[in-house]
Symmetry: C2
Subunit: 626 residues, 2 copies
């Protein structure tokens, strides 16, 4: 069946089969950034589309397409259903259809940039990717060494090991003869990994990639010449897997649903990264062949799917990844369409829920080299927490849920254009209580994690929400003498209490519960790590808050809602995309890469799912206490 | 254009494009054993087909299809042309056509079998392919090692190195979980190369392959259990590349003709070998997954094409192969369709014209371990010669041409059904001079190498051919009193002298010249090796004659025409398919494989193309001297 999808006035066509939903059509059409956090389970109600008339006689919302089911009747209003709004995951077309897909605000505004020169940090370190120019003696009747022997003899003089790799051997004879036996050899950690004709030593770049569940960032880095250590450019976008679920568990569930789904998700991210590499090259006028290496950091689920490893072991106790060590291969063996002989290196992680993004973060923060006790917190659907110093590191992961990323929140959205990302109390007048900051500066379309945390901190501070997270009644507020401006925020949603932030944005009692669970998980994780290692909050000298939410987060608000112990607030540093930084450093410095491998092997992993201490702390931290 | 090809009464269809010849159609149809020794250059005149009428009104030999050109008028008789016989390589169809392809006698009768048990020879040696059964501890919350770490920890206890290979990691999680963490690990020379569920240790087999330019033989060998060391079965067939040229040079020329041709030839042989593996398994009721390894021996051109390596460096001075060392990879990486995790190992060779078939032959003959001086001769289009003992080996290769394989001989054919392979003088009556032996016992269709050598030995012995190779005139024979029976053999072909062997088979003056060049090349090669190493023929204690021609060759006849110095005749042994034997031994014994690698590195290669000594000997050996 042919589904015509209209997005921002542009038409696309997707072919689907009987038994496939409109969500499949949206995904097949490759519409990026379409929001389906639950991955088609029918629980989030986000995948709204409008069914359009096919011909002039066909009324909006008419057949073909199944009738709205209970899930839709529950999650959509009568008015929405009446005007043809449906959930894409619930509509199974019976024939050709036309639908309108809302503009998803897919221009991700992701705070991922940072001071782009790592030259100071890496000093004279060599990249794990080394280029060596060789002028081989051409063969003669007195020197009949085979092509490969000729090459490997020269390589052994440079201390490079050469394995007889089929792909390389298939290219070797033409390459040598076309370039008069002058070639540049690429080696990764001392092993031959690529070959180029002529002298390309000064033309050496890498792309460092951070695959987030929500956001993918790729950094173009200069490995040689005067620009060595410089981040030339970066590109970021929403993860193209987003239409298959918002968090790692729904992605894994999607992979398990039927054979081929793992391949589909894998090729989405591989195609996306290949496209990013191509874009970085084209807009910087760089030949794609000068990209000798990709370094990849990400949580274990993302690196598994990228590598084509079945992630099912990650989803269920006892939470086992396929591999968490460093591994590499040609871009082709990974399925990338980037540079032919490019090496792709997946950085080492620690466990199923502490991936290479965290190892990279440790390296970026240098907490593993500091004598002072530091804490690294990476807040996403999972909150990964690392505590330690040069004397040793401990890590844990806690299921915070996606609330802090704006998912599972009634008016929630990611940190993209249109999201309210910061709220301050500007004046306590009768009607204008809040001052909202909107990403991109336009009309607010929803609220992202940092905005909700601000809102909760404000309502808690004003006494509108009590210690248990309950929205207090008008009677209670009046009795306490709380001002009219706050009382007017009280509202209702589906018959239950809610708080109005603006004309369009409301925070429900359910939303508060979601945030409570998220902040409790993270705070309890910190407390458990401290307890397991026998340290106190006062021992911690630095706190690095990593990730997109961390970058937008207001420290005071986060402390106010109890996301971390409030005595840490003065030492909190917004660390930005530490996963990306670590991936860049691994591309630039073999020494840093070695450190990263060692860190990944030495970190003590503390499993929280069976920890009684964690359970106690979690119950405790559910309260809002100042 | 659609070409209908009738072979042995069966119709096949091949699609060809404008500019492709009927030879392309024959090749596309996959007709095996069709003879085109020159590979379509229009020099051999062997690729005869009959153009059939398409409809009842279409006379034989009519259009579509170009008019016979000069080459065809030269190589085909008027009668042949008149009855629609054409050379497939000269006809470029302009529309659909039907042709009849002669039955090529493709049932190769190849003397490749031999005593099938190598148990005595390998004794307690281990195969380079080792299977190890592991019962891994299932993961638990107290043992969260990743799948690969769990495996590699267990492997390191068994002394097996495990690299994090992407293909293996993609299979690992499902395999472990489906088989309750009980797996059999395949390792090749101590490195992890494959994985199977459950305990398959006793179910371990290899296929040893000898890729000849003309003939491909595959042996199924038992690596484990009570049958260890036994050749279970073998299968042989004409090389499916045969339609693209009879010798290595025409195959290389074909590869160079246009992009894609190397791929075409490569996939022909890979598909053929995959089919042989499947056939060996199916007719012995063996699961294809029990084949853990393929060992491949062949001349350098054959192993290059099999591996997808551009062989162009082999064809031209200074004769450089891409790689002559041992290399291996998964069957998939080679492009085989055989067992998914099967390892394929290409055995080490010595130079562009002394390939792994010769290294394998050295190993099979054990000349590298003997204190006595031995000579190994492998006679094909190239004659490879090895001289030496445990104190050292020297090798050379000499361009004998294909005459000894029956090619470039007017009535010549390969050693297949219908070929006269042996001639003896049975009675010197008036008309019945010869007794012919025909392969398969039927009517003689042509003569193969061993038959021609016999014929020449007989005519030389009788004085019908003189020392220079000239067929003497009737007058000369009469003057010398040579009997009437011999004189009646004198005949003519194309106005030039020829000798009749039977009613249908004739040996021309040109044929004698071809054989003279072939035998001179080999004899001169032997003389040069002796001279370079300072040895005499009397020092040689054993001579191993390898290959198909060698197996059929009459020692006395070969000595009589001077193929080798006649004082060697008493120590000549017919060694059979030593390349196949060596490939089998390499599959069975890691120790033998190590010896083979060492031999390939230590053999002194002597280049004849620039040797003055060789040129002198060659001129000398052109004479027939008793």
């Amino acid at each position: 069946m042919k589904i015509t999808l209209t997005v921002s006035g542009r038409d696309m066509i997707a072919e689907i089969k009987q038994g496939e939903s409109l969500l499949d059509a949206v995904n097949k059409a490759g519409i990026s950034g379409f929001d389906a956090p639950c991955g088609g389970k029918g629980s989030c109600g986000k995948c709204r589309i409008a069914i359009s008339p096919i011909g002039p006689t066909m009324p909006i919302g008419a057949k073909p397409g199944s009738e709205p089911d209970d899930v839709e009747r529950d999650l959509l209003s009568e008015a929405e259903l009446g005007s043809g709004i449906r959930l894409a995951c619930r509509v199974y077309p019976e024939g050709d259809m036309s639908i309108t897909v809302p503009d998803s605000g897919s221009t991700a505004v992701i705070q991922t940039s940072f001071s782009g020169d790592f030259h100071q940090r890496i000093k004279d370190d060599c990249s794990p990717l080394k280029k060596t120019f060789l002028e081989l003696a051409p063969p003669s009747i007195d020197d009949q060494r085979p092509d490969f022997k000729r090459l490997s003899d020269a390589l052994s003089e440079s201390g490079i090991m050469a394995a007889a790799d089929l792909v390389m051997l298939r290219r070797l004879p033409d390459l040598l003869r076309e370039h008069d036996y002058k070639v540049t050899v690429l080696s990764l950690s001392g092993r031959l990994c690529g070959l180029e004709g002529g002298d390309t030593v000064s033309d050496s770049r890498a792309v460092a990639v951070d695959i987030g569940t929500t956001t993918v960032v790729a950094y173009l880095v200069d490995l040689a010449g005067p620009g060595r250590g410089r981040v030339i450019d970066l590109v970021s976008a929403l993860n193209e897997q987003k239409g298959r679920g918002g968090d790692v568990i729904s992605r894994i569930e999607y992979c398990m649903r039927q054979p081929g789904n793992l391949d589909e998700l894998g090729s989405r991210i591989r195609t996306q990264i290949s496209g990013m590499v191509a874009e970085l090259c084209s807009r910087n006028n760089i030949s794609i062949s000068s990209i000798g290496m990709l370094t990849i950091a990400g949580n274990s689920t993302m690196t598994h799917i990228f590598s084509g490893f079945n992630p099912l072991g990650i989803a269920f106790a006892p939470f086992i990844p396929v591999h968490s060590g460093l591994y590499s291969g040609s871009g082709t063996s990974f399925g990338l369409q980037a540079g032919e002989m490019c090496s792709c290196m997946v950085l080492p992680g620690i466990s199923a829920y502490v991936g290479s993004d965290i190892t990279a973060g440790i390296i970026a923060s240098e907490m593993h080299k500091s004598d002072e006790l530091s804490l690294l917190i990476d807040i996403g659907t999972n909150g990964e927490i690392v505590l330690g110093s040069s004397r040793g590191l401990s890590a844990c992961s806690t299921a915070a849920g996606p609330a802090l990323e704006g998912a599972n929140i009634s008016c929630g959205m990611g940190g993209v254009e249109g999201a309210v990302n910061s709220i301050t109390v500007s004046e306590r007048g009768e009607h204008e209580v809040f001052s909202l900051s909107v990403i991109g500066g336009g009309k607010p379309e929803g609220i992202c994690g940092s905005g909700i945390v601000d809102a909760l901190a404000v309502f808690l501070g004003a006494g509108v929400i009590d210690e248990t997270g309950r929205i207090r009644t008008e009677a209670e507020l009046t009795e306490d003498g709380i001002s009219r401006g706050w009382i007017e925020c009280l509202s209702e949603s589906g018959g239950k209490p809610a708080l109005k932030v603006s004309a369009d944005i409301m925070i429900t009692q359910m939303d508060i519960r979601e945030i409570q669970m998220a902040k409790a998980a993270i705070a309890a994780g910190i407390r458990t790590l401290l307890s397991e290692t026998g340290r106190a909050t006062t021992d911690i000298k630095r706190v690095f808050v990593a990730g997109g939410f961390g970058a937008a987060m207001n420290k005071a608000s986060a402390a106010a809602i109890g996301l971390f112990p409030s005595d840490l607030e003065p030492v909190v540093e917004i660390a930005g995309n530490t996963a990306g930084k670590g991936a860049i450093l691994a591309a630039l410095s073999a020494r840093v890469l070695d450190e990263m491998v060692k860190v990944s092997e030495d970190v003590e992993y503390i499993e929280l799912s069976t920890s009684l201490k964690f359970q106690q702390e979690y119950m405790n931290e559910m309260y809002f206490r100042q």
